[in-house]
């Protein structure tokens, strides 16, 4: 009885047996299906209706595999697919793919004639052994990614899918590199930019399909990411393209339940196939909720029971049932939304909303602050915050917000736009700037221990006070109390706070590849450390390392001050000191690019330590290629990489023979290719 799922079952069945008028989960499923068949103008006693109604598995697959848009239309498509291939009902893999195709059709505005060839592609390729074996075990929800295809729809044409299936068939984890099958190139051979209509135009009849055209002609991030994702899909591996600021990336389900971002430059991702919300956090929430098929079915059963009660105006019972769903299946967003809908429909009072609020804090916030705050702002806060003159009761607003913030211990499902949440909350204080500033300081205090969100609070407050240095320093003075206890009250508090923060945040941000945090805090350190006065000759292109992250093994060792790491990859200069073998200093570049050269300025002394260190490059930060071995000692090293055709997202120096490397500058130059 300890398992949440068992609790849910117990509640469900106890409800069924104690309230005699309540149908079983099976009856409710049949009822929902029958109603939908009628809505879709399908005969429940006809061939399809009978096949569908006699298969509870199939009904669960249809109803409980993520949100269903235009359910009657989707069921109509499923019926039409079944008419074309009645073996769908007897083969779970075919049934799953057909159901996924039907569920995605209304979202794509597809008719059965549009979607049937796509279903056939997967059916036939699987029969021929031409899909990855992971395909067999995909849930219907995961198949929806295959059914839907990628953002650039020409990759979804059958000819392109056949091409990808033939020519880019790889182990699942290798699809994160499939984007590089096409060359990154901004202008076609005639000089036409990819941002105009003529880039691909002369090539459209030159090869048999769009995927082959892109592979031969090239493209930039959008084409390349769509190419990589489409290649995975055509081989039966779920994948999705996603927008990032000024960039396009993609993600691949490289293992069951594991989604790996590819060609990604930022955590700010907007997925092109999304359910409920488009961010990475939402993606992980929905895919997590759908991981355990039995649990999704139980969760669906509970919702059907709640709707049954609500349909009979027994809202209290409906909410009681949903409270269990929220506790046992917190990742299932539909439980939260249905709860809010019934609370609103039942016009429930403050205590019911407070209970809902508590559930969000207790069960949803630990999963992910983004979704929790989304729900709080959209549904809970309008019922909980003081109705009028929020600015007159800031203390109560503080208290309500703070209770949610205290529930956050980490990023949860994935990095999210915490600053946006803060901005939404600040708006609720009206124009009361002192109250807003106090709130920001209090938040800093709440989050100081975990030190996960402090960088965002600091960055936002820096932006809010950029024209009022006094206000910012007052803020820093306030938050310094939440930081290092040994802050010298007579010294430079600001400098101490920044140093303390940077020491702690920069290594974590570098380890997580979190450029935004690394840069936000790093830039603050520029004002407290002197610039390096050594400026060797640069290589052509831009400083690709700028805007990235930088990390070493054992940061903060007795010789290393991580608060000075940011400057190492920037024009400003900084320093670091490794203390582990192999000595490793790694840059995640600010921009992917074609490298032209690397400049290193070591510290003044122990010049020989760099000898036999190796410069390596990598596209993904995992597979490294040696490009240069340092043979000479000296303070300044310039490694010319021109003509070597090196594309990279990461650059590192590694020394297998000794533990100490110490640079003031580690600069990578080249032409960016985001």
């Amino acid at each position: 009885m300890n398992s949440p799922r068992l609790v849910a079952f117990a509640l469900f069945f106890s409800t069924c047996f104690t309230a005699f008028a309540v149908p079983s989960a099976q009856d409710l499923l049949q009822e929902e299906t029958t109603k939908l068949l009628k809505e879709a103008e399908l005969d429940p006693t006809g061939d399809f209706g009978t096949a569908f109604l006699t298969s509870p598995d199939w009904q669960h697959e249809f109803h409980d595999s993520g949100p269903v848009e235009a359910p009657a239309e989707a069921l109509g498509i499923l019926s039409a697919l079944w008419s074309k291939d009645s073996s769908i009902s007897s083969d779970p893999i075919k049934r799953g793919m057909a159901t996924a195709c039907a569920l995605e059709s209304p979202r794509r505005k597809w008719t059965v004639d549009d979607v049937f060839p796509r279903y056939e592609f997967f059916r036939d390729k699987w029969d021929q052994g031409l899909l990855n074996t992971m395909y067999a075990d995909l849930s219907i929800f995961e198949r929806r990614y295959l059914a839907r295809g990628v953002q650039h729809t020409r990759f979804n044409e059958l000819a392109s899918m056949h091409y990808h299936n033939d020519e880019v068939c790889l182990p699942s984890e290798k699809y994160t590199g499939a984007c590089w099958y096409a060359r990154w190139i901004l202008h076609n051979p005639f000089g036409d930019s990819i941002h105009g209509p003529q880039y691909y135009a002369p090539f459209l009849n030159s090869w048999g399909n769009y995927a082959e055209i892109v592979r031969n002609v090239g493209g930039v991030c959008g084409s390349l990411s769509n190419f990589g994702a489409a290649a995975a899909l055509a081989n039966g591996i779920p994948a999705v393209t996603m927008g990032e600021p000024g960039h396009c990336a993609y993600a691949v389900m490289t293992k069951p339940g594991h989604w790996q971002p590819a060609y990604s430059l930022s955590w700010k991702r907007d997925l092109h196939t999304s359910f409920h919300g488009g961010s990475w956090g939402w993606h992980i929430l929905v895919t997590t909720a759908q991981q355990d098929i039995k649990a999704t079915r139980t969760s669906g059963d509970i919702r059907r029971l709640a709707r049954h009660y609500a349909g009979k105006n027994n809202f209290s019972k409906a909410l009681e049932v949903l409270a269990t769903a929220r506790q046992t299946h917190p990742a299932d967003w539909q439980n939260w939304i249905l709860s809010a809908e019934i609370l609103e429909k039942a016009k429930k009072g403050l205590s019911a909303w407070q209970e809902f609020h508590q559930d969000i804090i207790k069960h949803l916030a630990p999963l992910g602050g983004e979704v929790a705050f989304h729900l709080l702002h959209k549904k809970a806060y309008p019922h909980l915050l003081p109705k009028n003159n929020l600015k007159d009761s800031p203390q109560q607003t503080h208290k309500i917000f703070a209770s949610a913030h205290r529930a956050l211990t980490d990023w949860g499902l994935g990095r999210w736009d915490f600053q946006r949440t803060l901005k939404d909350q600040l708006k609720l204080f009206g124009k009361d700037t002192p109250a807003q500033d106090r709130f920001m300081a209090e938040l800093f205090s709440i989050h100081a221990e975990q030190n996960v969100f402090t960088a965002d609070i600091l960055a936002l407050q820096l932006d809010r006070t950029k024209d009022d240095e006094k206000r910012f320093h007052a803020f820093i003075s306030d938050i310094s109390k939440s930081l290092a206890k040994n802050t010298d009250a007579n010294g430079d508090q600001y400098k101490n706070v920044i140093t303390t923060l940077a020491r702690s945040v920069l290594p974590k941000a570098a380890a997580n590849g979190d450029k935004a945090t690394f840069q936000a805090i790093g830039k603050l350190t520029a004002g407290i450390f002197d610039k390096s006065d050594v400026t060797p000759e640069k290589f052509p292109g831009i400083l690709l390392s700028s805007g990235g992250t930088f990390g070493i093994q054992k940061p903060g060792n007795r010789w290393d001050n991580p608060s000075r790491h940011w400057g190492v990859i920037e024009e400003h200069g900084g320093d670091f000191h490794t203390d582990a073998t192999p000595a490793t200093a790694t840059i995640q570049l600010g921009n992917y690019g074609d490298l032209t050269g690397v400049v290193i300025v070591t510290r003044t002394g122990q010049f020989t330590r760099i000898v036999n260190a190796v410069l390596q490059t990598s596209i993904n930060g995992k597979e490294w290629t040696d490009v240069h071995t340092f043979k000479k000692h000296g303070r300044t090293h310039r490694v010319d990489l021109r003509g070597k055709d090196l594309s990279a997202g990461y650059v590192r120096v590694i020394h297998e023979g000794q533990p100490s490397l110490h640079f003031h500058k580690f600069h990578v130059y080249g032409d960016k290719k985001n």
């Binding site: 052994g129 992971m134 182990p171 051979p189």
Partner: protein, 447 residues
């Protein structure tokens, strides 16, 4: 010498049959020792059903090896999915010397020379076409024969000097296998002036050559671009696909110099070199846009008149135009209305704002008019939303033959049946005074 090599290769088959080897490292060592090629089946049978089927039903079958006639070593590499670090390291050790990036899709068959040089990779659709035992053995025998031929040529070239060595290297370069490492440098030593053209052929960078020419054009170095193109055209035995690129690059230069007639002829030549290949098709498509369409020699690919029986362009070399008013018009632009590139100002004719603004096109004689293509001005296209066409034999009686539904970038007008006319009035039926300004009028039919 060359004619004897296949015989030598065949002779060796009488004494050596295929050998199976357990792994790649062992196979390549054996290849070196026995001077035989290696065929490696690289597959992911644990995660790809078709790879497993191919391995079990063909590659592993004793009759497959028995059917091969050439002395080749057979081995395989299995690439697993979801490798952990330890397993990956173990796998890497077992395939030391093999580069996984040389395989772009699975499964694949790679053929290596006795010296470990990768001669070719069969994969994707190319391998699928060989998924019967007969087809595969034929192809592998052929490749093994080529590998033997290559080995013999390499050995002879090592011993030879001067022109004999050059001849042997040329035969080596001509083999349908991956290029030999450093072969360009060897040619450079033996043939510094590249009289054989091999250095140029082997170092030709295909589409990057076109890209390079575009760079010169953008840098206003047209003469340098043409010189490089002529140099490439003078290289003997260029393949049709390359000739298409070189001629296309020339067309690109000529078009940029506004020599559209010459450019169009050159693009067509490029297409003729490689009519079914991607290079030829691309060059024709590009040439159509930058030269053929502006010259009114060809319709743009998106024209609905393509493929229709519309006759010839009967306006291009004959028609004149007279406008209803001229105070906003520049007659020097009229030439662009029927012929040559579109006017840079965005329109070739421009009336005043007036009721029934129009231009009268004179075809100089009664013609059978079957179709028209009218190009609107680039900006202010909405002015032409009431565009209408009338025909007349005498400018007295006018017959309306078409009217626009809305403003468009271009109108493709196919008449239901040919209309006999000398004059066409192209004008507006706007309820209020409006300007008529158009870029081009092409009239099709017969004289």
């Amino acid at each position: 010498m060359r004619s004897f090599l296949p015989l030598l290769a065949l002779a060796s088959t009488a004494v050596a049959k295929p050998t199976r080897s357990l792994n790649f490292v062992e196979a390549t060592a054996l290849a070196k020792k026995s001077e035989r090629p290696v065929a490696v089946y690289v597959h992911g049978s644990s995660w790809h059903g078709a790879s497993k089927r191919f391995r079990d039903l063909i590659w592993k079958k004793p009759e497959f090896a028995a059917t091969l006639t050439q002395p080749i070593i057979l081995t395989n590499i299995e690439v697993k999915q979801h490798f952990d670090k330890e397993a990956a390291a173990k796998h890497d050790e077992s395939v030391k010397g093999w580069k996984d990036k040389s395989v772009r899709t699975y499964p694949a068959i790679q053929v290596y020379g006795f010296d470990g040089h990768l001669l070719t990779t069969l994969s994707g659709a190319a391998l699928r076409s060989l998924s019967s035992m007969d087809a595969l053995t034929d192809r592998l025998d052929q490749l093994a024969g080529l590998a033997t031929q290559r080995r013999n040529l390499l050995q002879e070239a090592t011993a030879a000097e001067g022109s004999e060595k050059l001849n042997l290297l040329a035969q080596l370069a001509d083999l349908p296998l991956n290029n030999e490492p450093k072969i360009i440098a060897q040619f450079k030593n033996l043939d510094p002036e590249d009289k054989t053209g091999w250095q140029a052929r082997l170092s030709f960078k295909n589409w990057d050559f076109v890209r390079h020419i575009t760079g010169l054009v953008n840098g206003d170095k047209h003469d340098e671009a043409l010189t490089e193109i002529e140099k490439q055209l003078s290289v003997p035995d260029q393949s049709p696909a390359r000739l298409a690129l070189i001629h296309g690059a020339k067309g690109r230069v000529l078009a940029s110099q506004n020599k559209l007639s010459d450019a169009w002829a050159t693009f067509q030549k490029a297409h003729q070199c490689d009519p079914k290949g991607p290079n030829g098709i691309t060059m024709l498509a590009y040439g159509t846009r930058v030269a053929g369409v502006p010259l009114r020699e060809v319709l743009p690919t998106d024209s609905t008149l393509n493929g229709k029986d519309i006759g010839d362009n009967i306006s291009r070399d004959h028609a004149t135009v007279t406008l209803s008013s001229t105070s906003n018009d520049d007659p020097t632009q009229h030439a662009h209305l029927f012929n040559g590139p579109y006017a840079k100002v965005g329109f070739a004719i421009h009336t005043d704002a007036e009721k029934d603004a129009h231009g009268i096109v004179d075809l100089q004689e009664i013609c059978q008019v079957q179709a028209l293509r009218i190009i609107n001005r680039r900006t202010q296209s909405g002015r032409a939303k009431t565009l209408t066409v009338w025909t007349s034999a005498d400018q007295k009686t006018w017959q309306k033959i078409w009217a626009a539904d809305k403003a468009e970038f271009a109108w493709d007008i196919l008449l239901e049946k040919p209309v006999a006319a000398r004059y066409l009035k192209v004008g507006l039926k706007s309820p209020k005074p409006e300007y008529l300004s158009l870029q081009a009028i092409d009239i099709f039919g017969s004289r």
